[in-house]
Symmetry: C2
Subunit: 123 residues, 2 copies
DNA sequence: CAGCATCCAGCTTGATACTG
DNA sequence: CAGTATCAAGCTGGATGCTG
């Protein structure tokens, strides 16, 4: 039997969540948090290129989906730590498996690109 | 030691490839092709919601990265089959592992969302 | 430090029309 | 069938300025 949720269907809510996870910054954020809890600006430095706005937005979406937990200390200056939930860890592990696979095969990807480009450039 | 490629670095080419794979349509396309070779319009129907243009664009990117192989028969009407390369299969498997994990935990995600929304709506 | 509000340039996307 | 070309609209995301 099929699961009740199916990302291939346009209307399925799982599609939206998949996009939060695999979106431009979602995956990198989850990946960074897999090593351990991080504060906002630490995270910002790890995820090279993310803006304050996008990181904030990304964290809200991941928190809402129950993948990230936000721990705020009411001190001054404020200190906020982000960490993966158990569900977030499950997801992050699978995502990192994909990322590491890719990083390990980038030479093949780059070679494929060159073949593709020269074959096309020739025409 | 670290691998030569690192998606967390803004300039690394692996970052672009990760985006092809996890982009809005890339992941769904790879997932659909994991079941077997498909023609252009078959793929279009599987990946619910993708436009002709975006599918075409997505396939070009995946082909260039060496993840998808394009097999064109010079018949009339034309017939073109798309299938995963060995590298594409490796990537697709890890991606599907993530997708299935997510589909199986969507109830948790939806519950987390409700908690988040009611906690926020209250304020 | 941790973030929100606003503005707006430009990239992405979908619709439509067309080709081989 | 399997695409390509073009165009408008809308969303994404970066920069800036401000708050607690």
């Amino acid at each position: 039997m099929d699961l009740p949720y199916n990302v291939f269907a346009k209307l399925c809510p799982s599609r939206g969540t998949l996009e939060h996870i695999t979106g431009r910054w979602g995956g990198l954020t989850l990946g960074a948090l897999h090593e351990g809890s991080l504060r906002f600006n630490e995270l910002r430095r790890r995820v090279d290129g993310v803006s304050e706005k996008m990181l904030s937005q990304t964290l809200h979406a991941l928190e809402r989906d129950g993948l990230v937990h936000r721990e705020a200390q009411p001190t001054n200056p404020p200190r906020v730590d982000y960490e993966l939930t158990p569900l977030g860890r499950e997801v992050a592990e699978r995502l990192l498996s994909l990322i590491h696979c890719l990083e390990g095969r980038m030479d093949d990807v780059l070679a494929a690109r060159e073949r593709y480009d020269t074959a096309r450039g020739a025409r």
